[in-house]
Amino acid sequence: MTSGRPLLSSLDNSSVSGQPLLHHSGSLGTLGVSRPADSVNTSILHLARGEPFEVDCLEKDKGRVHFVGDNSFRSANPVGESFDSVVTTKRLQSLDSEFFEEVSLECSTQLSKHLVSWGATAKEMLHNDNNATFSTSFEISRDSGNLGKPKRRSRPKSLQLDEDVLREEDARFIYINDPRRTNDQYEFTGNEIRTSKYTLITFLPKNIFIQFHRVAYLYFLAIAALNQLPPLAVFGRTVSLFPLLFVLCVTAIKDGYEDWRRHRSDRNENNREALIFQSGQLRSKKWKHIRVGEVMKISANETIPCDMVLLGTSDPSGVAYIQTMNLDGESNLKTRYARQETSLAVFEGRAISGLIRCEQPNRNIYEFTANMEFNGQKYSLSQSNIVLRGCQLKNTGWIIGVVVYAGQETKAMLNSAASPSKRSRLENYMNRETLWLSIFLFIMCLVVATGMGLWLAQYENQLDYLPYYRKRYFTLGKDYRKEYKFYGIPMEIFFSFLSSIIVFQIMIPISLYITMELVRIGQSYFMIGDSHMYDSISGSRFQCRSLNINEDLGQIRYVFSDKTGTLTENKMEFRRASVNGKNYGGSLLTADPLQTESISAATTNRRWKLKSTIAVDSELLELLHKDLVGDERIVAHDFFLALAACNTVIPIRTCDGFSSCTDSQFFEDADTMDYQGESPDEQALVSAASAYGYTLFERTSGHIVIDVNGEKLRFGVLGMHEFDSVRKRMSVVIRFPNNAVKVLVKGADNSMLSILAKDSGRDDHARRAATESHLTEYSSQGLRTLVIAARDLTEEELELWQCRFDDASTSLTDRAAKLRQTAALIECDLTLLGATAIEDRLQEGVPETIESLRQAGIKVWVLTGDKQETAISIGLSCKLLTKDMEQIIVNGNSENECRKLLADAKAKCCLKSSSKGSQYLKCNENAEMDYLERPEKEEVPLALIIDGNSLVYILEKELESELYDIATYCKVVVCCRVAPLQKAGIVDLIKSRTDDMTLAIGDGANDVSMIQMADVGVGICGQEGRQAVMASDFAMGQFRFLKRLLLVHGHWNYQRIGYLVLYNFYRNAVFVLMLFWYILFTAFSTTSALTDWSSVLYSVVYTSVPTIVVGILDKDLSHRTLLQYPKLYGVGYRHEAYNIHLFWITMADTLWQSLVLFGVPLVTYKESTIDIWSIGNLWTVAVVILVNIHLAMDIQRWVLITHVAVWGSVIIAFACVVVLDSIPIFPNYGLTSSGVIVKYLETLHHPKLKMPCMLASIAHVHARCLRKMDID
């Protein structure tokens, strides 16, 4: 941002004016000045800034980390002895570890920028004057920051530490601009990426291998193989392969197509081009050919192809802005820096060569540890020097960098965990039942084989003479008296066993798998077509991206939700303001752009407009256009100045034209103003200020330009105290054009009200009381409030502060604490200006959805990358958290701390449960038992709030189970500051410990791993790119559709598939048992009375269509009912539609029905003339009618299609039998043509047959109904 111009004009009132020299007085040098003076400074600063707080340091010193926290500050005091402590040690001790975690995890770009800008002081130089090399200073800073130990003692250790981090063998050596040498020793991965699963060669084996994970397929394969043996071939050899081949082929084609699409997108990605320095010239090269060690140039708005260390940017100060949306889902710009030395070199067009030593590839996108040897000196590199693959360069002309990680080794790729193929829970259960069925099958075959053995043994001597069993050739000839086709009784038994397997094979229904696929397609069709789930704003329909897990939607117990963009619209809106004790914004004028226009047109001559329009309060607007006299007016003026100045937002102007405006920051005709900042709140405040005429126009390190009603004012920024979670406020010291110096502070109400001036007059008192009442009002409306205050600084104060500030901000040890102390110097005795209220607009219907989900017994966890405070306030506004909840906050900074916090939390949980007068056990019992609401007697529901830093310790340790216990006990869990993989870790925590189904919903790339990890991943088609949608199983436009998706479609899908599976088991088992009973009457020879064709067509034609139709169309309850009574959703996770009990009941039912089905005709035609094919046909028709009636009885809603399908398939079955009988080559020929069936009908054998079956079903159904009625 810093321009080439000297920017000192507004600053140089002090002694430093114009002097580039940095001296002990501790005054400021702007970057532009300090750079040429000594590049060393900044490098030190870099060292000092980042490393001490890096998470990895903490991790690496687990043994010692317990020093961090309270102790660190105490022991830090000797280091910071040059202070005359304003703040007492006690205060310091009270500072908790949050602070560290805040800084370390944020790796705050603002902080770094800020330090680069202001940090270079002579003091620092003096401080480190004993340092021969910079790496030593790096070590010191690292160590002391970490352990808070006196310098002298820690030095030897620190050296070790550094060695630990970048030990030779662990490190990766990258020779800048020398890819050949870089890749010489170690072959680093190229930049080619591959997300596809298969290649042309591996497709067939791999795909088949994956497909055969379905146990049933193996079974069918075995059956098909058996059928190939000539002694056993019951059905045609090739015919028996068809069903399996068909299923395999369909799935393979589907998989192949999906993989082909992945290949295509990989190819597109790999073939994109980038500019690479090759033999001193910039040449275009394909992404996939990029090698580690190459130097490349990226232009504005381009995507970064690999992880690279910045060497230089279009900005002389080495700043670059990137958008990391694809990585962490945050849409705001982040700043990255090139090292000054290299940046200079790049700028001067020198070729750069050097050696970068960096850590091995890892997944942590918030961390990078490396150092660089350049011009014979060692510099450290950190996270702020690296740009990652997938990011986009914004607002910066170009950057030059050296590739350090490429292809699969990039952090982005490492973070995209391979998407596991998901299988629905129900299907897993189904596999279990399939196992049971195979046991039945085995038993049946065993019975047949044993029977066969016994029978043969009984008739062994007669076998030659049995007219129906001849074992010997008696025909004259060479074979005379030779035994034929007889292998001896044991083998006969064995063959009998195998062939009965073949006969009974459809006990395990292969058609079920095809049916399920079809049904799921049908269900998806309805989900996609549901107009209630169409987002008319973004125009996005519901999408089913995965067809395997529809029914899982009905069994969800845990919903893991991202916050930003999922629960909220990710748009902050300035709503209310209390200025000078007066409440504004009660009636906002959005719909009056004309008036606003006229006012602004009249009073300002600005030529830009905001990207977003903001509603303004006319009263306040009018006030602001008055002359700058009067108390009220001045307070309002200061108020809005504070809004515009006290932030870290970067204004970005873009032209309306097509030309790139990135370099045209100073062109006055820039047209659109957009604010980029880490905090959406700040953006909202700045935008609001702009709407009221105080437009933040320009921000550089040393000054800001604010356009006040058309008049451009330049303010010097003397210093800034960043927001931190301890102080809960931020302040900025600015020098007004008239040389007055003011500190502007904004912060959370509780932290602000305590530091307001005490000895205030009556007016102030009234103002304060009024503001406080406004604040209460705002927060009760769910708005996020901030208090704005200011204070004039006298020259003495300023000098004192400045001295301290310079010292602190360049300090290598305990900088944060020192800065905090410094801030305390000026953040006191403030004059209250007012308060603001911002609304983070929740998406429509979010609280209702969450409420419904909760009623449905689903636990909603929010996992967000946001700060703890933000997360809590959003939790409150979406009614996830309620005021009456007791919040357990876990934000430890070390393993021990976390352990302690968890223990406390656990104590709290169990205290609660024991206070209910029950034993400790109840605690766990509850966790399992809370199918419905928790008992009311529990006084305070608990909410667990845990942050990402604690999760680092918890998720990898045995603490995991503790967390699990607490988390499942708490009603609400909010995780803040979590990294993408941690989100997945949390999902995994639940997934691995319970059988409960999990659903993850998110909209950003940072949610991808979570979405893939969860049983069901739902993507929101939001503003944050398409990654989440691409990784998801289902995608939709709004969070609120989740309610309908789960409660309605999930419920239906689950019910349907559950019934479908049971019915399919029933249908085939009835048929097989019928065959089985008959075999018992045929001397255990595997005779089937049915024709082969009927056997084959039974599950394919005779009975399949109604199954599919019912599976797609049947509804037990209407969507209104389901939405009205969310508790109905419980049937899903209680497995009520499909469970082992139902399975056994179905099987018992099957046994009974098959006996009736088989027995009635048998007894009726005992000792009669009936032939086998006639009775076979009778059985065929009867079983078809029976199963269809059974289905008909279970159908909940009859639509026309159901009627057609059910009765139609009975008719079709009948017709098929007739057709089959009229083909002369079949042995059953002529049955129907000679009117035999008709004869049966006449003799009423036939309907008779059905009656008992129907009655059985009726009785069964009724018994079930009655049982239900009794229970209910």
């Binding site: 129906y468 074979d479 077509g529 209630h532 996005s540 020879s1085 009912t1121 009574y1125 009936i1170 008909a1192």
Partner: protein
């Protein structure tokens, strides 16, 4: 008829299915790409087409099985079944059936220790006379059956044909035949492999080949009342379709029963198969090991107390496998032959229906509940909130 009657639309309180179409969609819109369910990428910006089908709001009826409905339907079933059962039972009782086992009776005393020899040797006299009395008046036509027991005509012997060489799919007793061969002279040699080992004599095919034909029943009966012979009508005992299509009129028995071991009947090689009705009857393999097959008809009435003498040619070797042979004379009714089971079953089921209807009615009367009473929902019923499975 046993299905519960369908109520128009949904009448339960908790299930109101009728959705107002106007509330659910703005409707209209041109046809979206509804066919591309599988095409994930296609992200239609168009709203989904509204139709009652796609919104799953098709008019439907939902049968609600109310206690009343159950009681009524059970009663109706009872009312329907009991008369049917009664009719069937009485019809069965009206059927007169005489079954006479003769296989042991027809062995001369001297052969009683050597039955197999007796039955297998060609020279022995196998004629025997059996007498029985007609218990009741038997209205013509009176059907004559022979009944065999323990004969697994449904036996399916697995095909262990020589691997690879043979194309045999299915060799079993009931499969040991070539249906194709029987249809026409042209196919005499067709599908002979199914008939192994009785497929050829030398290189000449056997017609009809296979175990089934080979083991054909060959006892003959001639009846006389008071020394006056009764004419046994042996025409039209086989199925029409068999005569017309399955057994060709140009196919003559050939090389039949010429082997070393004679299984059963010999066929007159001058009569085409389409006229050999006994063969047709035999070739309809029976369902169970005990079966009857139609032998012929006596078209005249038999008076009660008539003594019928049957001269039997006891040729068939049922002794080798321990089977019995029975001669059966039976009249028919609308429900077929004599079979009490049918009537009893109907009566039983009908009775049970009545019984349950009454039980349900009593329960319903004393423990009546309104349908759709939300107070009975599990979470309303149990304020503590514990839900036991």
């Amino acid at each position: 008829m046993a299905m519960p009657s369908f109520l128009e639309e949904d009448t339960t309180l908790i299930d109101v299915n009728r959705d107002d179409p106007s509330s659910s969609s703005e409707g209209g819109g041109s046809d979206g790409d509804d066919k591309s369910i599988l095409a994930h990428e296609i992200e239609s910006k168009k709203p989904p087409t509204y139709s009652r089908f796609t919104q799953q709001e098709l008019p439907a009826c939902k049968p609600i099985i109310t206690p009343k409905l159950v009681i009524v339907s059970f009663t109706l079933i009872g009312f329907l079944f009991i008369p049917i059962g009664k009719t069937a039972l009485s019809a069965s009782n009206n059927v007169v059936e005489i079954a006479k086992r003769y296989d042991m009776e027809c062995i001369p005393e001297i052969y009683s220790n050597n039955i197999l020899h007796y039955i297998q040797s060609v020279g022995t006299n196998k004629t025997c006379t059996v007498k029985f009395t007609v218990p009741k008046h038997m209205k013509g036509p009176v059907f004559i059956y022979y009944q065999l027991t323990n004969f697994y005509q449904n036996y399916r012997k697995m095909s262990y044909g020589v691997p690879l060489r043979s194309r045999i799919k299915d060799t079993k007793y009931m499969g040991s035949r070539s249906d194709r061969q029987l249809t026409s002279k042209a196919y005499e040699g067709a599908e002979l492999e199914k008939c192994e080992p009785l497929e050829k004599v030398g290189e000449e095919p056997i017609v009809p080949c296979g175990l089934v034909a080979w083991s054909m029943f060959n006892d003959t009966y001639s009846f006389s009342v008071k020394d006056k012979a009764l004419i046994v009508n042996k025409t039209n005992i086989a199925w029409e379709s068999d005569k017309e299509t399955r057994f060709g009129s140009d196919v003559y028995p050939k090389n039949f029963q010429t082997g070393d071991v004679i299984g059963g009947a010999k066929l007159n090689s001058s009569i085409p198969l389409s006229e050999q009705e006994d063969l047709m009857v035999w070739m309809r393999t029976a369902t169970l090991r005990n079966f009857r097959k139609l032998y012929g008809r006596i078209d005249v009435d038999l008076e009660a107390n008539d003594e019928i003498a049957v001269e039997i040619q006891n040729n068939y070797n049922s002794y080798g496998y321990g089977g019995e042979k029975l001669l059966v004379l039976s009249t028919t009714s609308a429900f077929g032959g004599q079979n009490k089971f049918l009537g009893v079953a109907y009566l039983t089921v009908g009775g049970f229906c009545f019984f349950f209807a009454i039980i349900f009615a009593i329960i319903y009367h004393f423990k009546r509940r309104e349908i759709g009473d939300t107070a009975y929902l599990s979470w309303n019923r149990n304020p503590v909130g514990y839900y036991m499975k």
